[in-house]
C-alpha cells in the first residue's frame, strides 16, 4: 500500500487529500486499486471534499493516452522529435499553445511558456486571455489577487455576486457560513434564491439586465465581493463587477475554476500581444490562420463544452499535438500524442486561490521532461527555482500553511474600464426562457453529473410537464430531465454542460457568457 499526498485538480481551492494505492502484498498479485482518504491536516479544506473530489479515483481511472505518431505507437523520444519537426514546418504565428491550468504544474507552465516564446508564437493561452486584453493594466491585479479563507471567515460584510458557493466552489461555502456565524452580514446578489441557505439577504437581479447591479451601490458598500471569472465570464459582467468594487470601496475576490489558475495568471507576465483568447484561437483555426495546436493537459471539448463543434474545428488543423495523461475526445484527431503522468503522480508545484504554493506529492517529472526536450532541456530544480523567482518568492520552500502569493491592493481607476450602458432588456417571448449555466467542477471536466435542469413551478405548468417527462432546451440534441425549484418564472438553471446552440462563431459563443436565451419545449 502506498499513501500519496495530493491535491484535487477540480477547482482553484485545490483541496488536499490522500490517494491510497493498494497492490501486493495486500491484494493478489497483479491487482491494483486506487482509493481515496480525507487528509484532515490540509489547511484549505480540512480534509473535506466535494462530490468531484470524492469522484477522483474514477477520474484517474480513465483510459491513458498512448504515445503515438499518426496513430502508430512509438517511443517518447521519437514522438518528441516528430512534434518538433512538424511544428518547425509552420510559421510561428500559425501555432497556438493552449494549457488550461487544472492539472498542470507551475514548472510545466513555465516550461510551456518558454517553449512557445522560443518558437515565436503569439498564440499562447491559459484560459483567461480575453480579460488581459480588455482590462486595463492597473485593474488586472483584481484578476490575480487571492484571499486566504481565514480572511473570509473574519470578514464583516460579504457580497456574493452570481456565485452559489455550494455549486461553483463547494469548499468555499463553509467559510462563508463561518463568517455568518461570527456575525458577518452576507448578501447574495443572484438570479435565484439559494435553496441551501447562505445569505441573510438576497437581492434578485434580472439575468438579461446585469447592468441593474449599478443600482446596488448602497447595498454593496464597503464589503468583500466574492465572484468568479471563468473562460465564459462575459466582459460586460466582469467590468461591471470591477466597477462596482471600485466605486463602493469594496475588496474583490474572484475565484477561478482551475486548480492552478493563479499560478498560470502570475507566471506569464508577458504582454497581451503574445497571448490570445481561447475562442479567438478557435476562430483562427476555422479561418485557417492558425494551423498548428499544442494542447497541454487540456481537454478542449470539456472546457469549451461544445464537443462536436470543437472536433469539427480542430479537424482543420495541419498539426495537432496533444500531451496528456488521459485520452480525450481530441486524441483521435491528434497527429502526435505524448503520454504524461496523471496529476497525482506529478512532482512540482501549484499556486492556489488562497495564495499557497503547494508541493504536489508525486515523484514523476515526465510531463516536464517532454516540454523541456522540446525546448531548453533544463532539470527540474532549475525550472522550479525559476518558478519561485517568477512568483517573487525566496529560495526557501514554503509549506502549505503559508500564504505566499503576492497580493496587490491596487486602486482601480474606473475610467478606462470597458463600460456599456445597460441595454434595455429585451422582452422574452412566451416560449423563451433564460438558461443560466451554474458552472462547477464537473462542468469544467465535461462530465454530465446531474442530467436535469431546474425550473420554476410556473414553467412546469406552462410547459405542461409531469413527473418523468423530459425537456428539449434550445437546439440541444439530447433530452434533459428537470427539477422543480424556487427559481424565477423564466429562469432555467443547468449545472451540466448542456449544449443548447448550434455551432456559432466561437467569439460570439463566449460573449454570451453563462446566460443564454433559449426556447424550451417538452420532449
Amino acid at each position: 500500500m502506498r499513501t500519496i499526498t495530493t491535491n484535487c485538480p477540480g477547482c482553484c481551492i485545490a483541496c488536499g487529500l490522500y490517494l491510497l494505492e493498494f497492490s501486493t502484498p495486500e491484494l493478489p498479485a497483479g491487482e491494483l486499486k486506487l482509493s481515496l482518504a480525507h487528509r484532515k491536516l490540509a489547511p484549505m479544506n480540512e480534509g473535506k471534499l466535494c462530490k468531484f473530489g470524492m469522484h477522483l479515483p474514477a477520474f484517474y481511472a480513465r483510459e491513458p493516452l498512448p504515445t503515438l505518431v499518426d496513430g502508430q505507437e512509438t517511443t517518447q523520444d521519437e514522438a518528441i522529435r516528430e512534434a518538433k519537426a512538424r511544428l518547425e514546418r509552420l510559421k510561428p504565428d500559425e501555432i497556438a499553445f493552449v494549457a488550461i491550468p487544472s492539472a498542470v504544474t507551475n514548472e510545466e507552465l513555465l516550461s510551456f511558456v518558454s517553449g512557445a516564446t522560443a518558437c515565436g508564437s503569439t498564440n499562447r493561452c491559459f484560459g483567461f486571455e480575453q480579460f488581459l486584453n480588455a482590462i486595463p493594466e492597473d485593474a488586472r491585479s483584481a484578476l490575480t489577487n487571492g484571499l486566504p479563507f481565514f480572511e473570509i471567515e473574519a470578514a464583516s460584510k460579504i457580497v456574493l455576486f452570481l456565485l452559489d458557493p455550494y455549486v461553483h466552489y463547494p469548499l468555499l461555502a463553509r467559510r462563508i457560513l463561518k463568517a455568518r456565524q461570527r456575525g458577518a452580514q452576507v448578501i447574495d446578489i443572484a438570479f435565484a434564491h439559494n435553496r441551501r441557505g447562505i445569505a441573510n439577504e438576497t437581492v434578485l437581479i434580472d439575468p438579461l439586465d446585469p447592468g441593474s447591479i449599478q443600482k446596488l451601490r448602497d447595498t454593496v458598500a464597503n464589503s468583500l465581493i466574492i465572484s468568479e471569472v471563468t473562460p465564459y465570464t462575459s466582459l460586460v459582467v466582469i467590468s461591471l463587477v470591477l466597477r462596482l468594487a471600485a466605486e463602493t470601496a469594496s475588496q474583490l475576490f474572484l475565484l477561478k475554476p482551475f486548480a492552478n489558475s493563479t499560478g498560470a495568471l502570475l507566471l506569464d507576465s508577458s504582454g497581451a500581444e503574445q497571448r490570445r483568447d481561447l475562442f479567438e484561437i478557435l476562430d483562427r483555426i476555422e479561418n485557417g490562420s492558425i494551423k498548428g495546436l499544442y494542447l497541454l493537459e487540456t481537454d478542449l471539448s470539456a472546457v469549451v463544452f461544445h464537443a462536436a463543434a470543437v472536433k469539427q474545428t480542430l479537424s482543420q488543423l495541419d498539426v495537432l499535438i496533444e500531451q496528456n495523461a488521459f485520452r480525450t475526445p481530441q486524441s483521435e484527431l491528434a497527429h502526435v500524442t505524448l503520454q504524461s503522468e496523471p496529476f497525482y503522480r506529478k512532482r512540482g508545484t501549484i499556486l492556489t486561490i488562497e495564495g499557497r504554493l503547494l508541493e504536489l506529492g508525486g515523484e514523476s517529472t515526465n510531463g516536464l521532461r517532454i516540454l523541456e526536450q522540446l525546448g531548453s532541456n533544463r532539470a527540474f530544480a532549475e525550472v522550479h527555482a525559476e518558478v519561485k523567482h517568477a512568483l517573487g518568492l525566496g529560495t526557501a520552500e514554503p509549506t502549505e500553511f503559508e500564504i505566499v502569493a503576492p497580493r496587490v491592493e491596487a486602486v482601480v481607476n474606473v475610467a478606462p474600464l470597458p463600460h456599456r450602458e445597460p441595454e434595455k432588456p429585451e422582452a422574452l417571448g412566451d416560449e423563451h426562457y433564460v438558461l443560466w449555466y451554474k458552472t462547477n467542477p464537473f462542468f469544467w471536466a465535461g462530465i454530465r453529473d446531474k442530467g436535469f435542469v431546474e425550473l420554476s413551478p410556473t414553467a412546469l405548468q406552462a410547459l405542461g410537464l409531469f413527473v418523468g417527462d423530459a425537456l428539449i432546451v434550445g437546439d440541444a440534441a439530447e433530452k434533459t430531465g428537470f427539477k422543480v425549484a424556487a427559481v424565477p418564472e423564466k429562469l432555467i438553471v443547468s449545472e451540466d454542460p448542456l449544449v443548447v446552440h448550434e455551432h456559432v462563431p466561437w467569439r460570439e459563443l463566449r460573449e454570451s457568457g453563462t446566460v443564454r436565451k433559449v426556447i424550451v419545449k417538452r420532449a
Binding site: K48, C50, P170, L171, R195, K483, V484
Partner: protein
Amino acid sequence: MEVIDSYGMMEPRYYLAWATDEAIRARGANGGFVTALLVSALETQFIDLALVVKKKSVYEGVPVLTNDPEQVKESAGSLHGVPWNLAKLLLECAPDKRVGVPTKPCDARGIIELAKRRQIALDNVFLIGLNCGGTVHPLRMRELAAELYGLDPDTVQKEEITAGKLILRYEGEGGATQEKGLKIDELEQEGRGRRDACKSCTTKLPVMADLACGNWGVPKGEQKTFVEVLTDKGAAILENALNKGAITVEDATEQSIAVRAKIERAMQALAARWKDELDVLTDNSPSERLAFYTEQLQRCIHCGACKAVCPVCACDEDAKCLDLHDEQDAYAISLYNLLRILHLMDSCIHCGQCEEVCPVDIPLTLIQRRFSERMQAHLDYEPGMDVTETPPYQETKLRWSADAKTSESEGA
C-alpha cells in the same frame, strides 16, 4: 450462514508488558508492547500484514498496510492529533490475509460491525485494542500550539498526553528540546481540545478487541504497557510474541487494575457530561427539531463522503441510500440523508468521522446520535461489541421482547 468466531472469549487477564528490544521500547508510546507484538507476529508469519499509523509529523500520520517489520517499528508511538478510523481500510485487503491492527475502541467497533455484515472475516483480524482518551483534530492541534502554547507549530516535534495534560515538546532556542503542558480540561472549557465525538465517547477501553493496551494503571515513571487479554485470539498473538522473546510480561498488581478501572469510570462520567452539554437539541420542541434538521440537512451537496467514511456502513456504490436518492427530487430533506439516518440507527458508534468530512459542516454526528441513541436504548443494543449479534435492523424477530406484545396489540 452464521459467522462463528472460532476464538472464544476468556476470563480477562491483566499484565504489564514491554518490548524486550530497547529501541522499540524507547520509541513506543508506553512499553512498545504493541509494536513488538506486531513485529514478532510478522516475523513468525503468525500474521501476513500489519495495519499501523506512521508518523509524518505531530499533526499527521498515514496508514501503512505492510508485511515489513521495519515499517511497523517506525510506526511505534501514539498520535493524538490523527483521527483516522482504520476499519474501512481493511476492506481493501484480500479477505484471506491475516492482519494485525492496533485499534482504538471506535476502530475495533467499526471492524466488528463490518464483520457482522460479512465484509471482514474477524478470525483473520487481530484487534490490538488501545485505550482511548480521545483525539484532537490536527488543524485544531496546530491552532492550539500557535495560539495557546505560543509556539511555531512547525517546531513541535512530539506530543504526549499525561496526567490530564497535553504536553508539546518543541525545539526551543539553540536547538534544545523544551516542553510545555496545558490541562486538557481547561483547554476544553474554552472550546478547544478533543473532537466533539471524542469528548462525548464513553467507550474508553477496547473491551470488544482481542487485547486492550494502554497506560492507565502503569505505575508512574515506568515504561510499560498495561495489557488486558480479552480473547483466546489475543492470548494466542501474545503467546507468539512471548515465545519469540519479543516481549517481557509481568502480572499487573491489584492496585494497577484498580487505578485503571477508576480512571475509566472518571473518563466515562466526563464523557456523559460532555454528551449533554454538546446536545443543542435537548430542550427543543418537535417542531424546533424538525426545523433544525431541515435547515442543517438542506445544505447537503450529496458528495457521499459521510457514507464513504462511516466505519459501520458496509454498502458499496449500489447502496440503497444512493440508489433511491434522486437529485431531481425536491424534498425538504433528501432521501439519502433520511435513509442514512434510518439505516444507522442501530449501528452508529458515534465516532464522528461523518461530521468531520462533511464539506458543508452539517453536524452529522450530533444528528445521528439523537436518532441512534434513542433507537439503541429502545433495542437495548450496543453496536460494535459482539460479532455474534445480528444488526437489529436486519432481524426478523423483535429484540425488544417486552415491547413485542404492545406492538402486536397496537396492530389488533
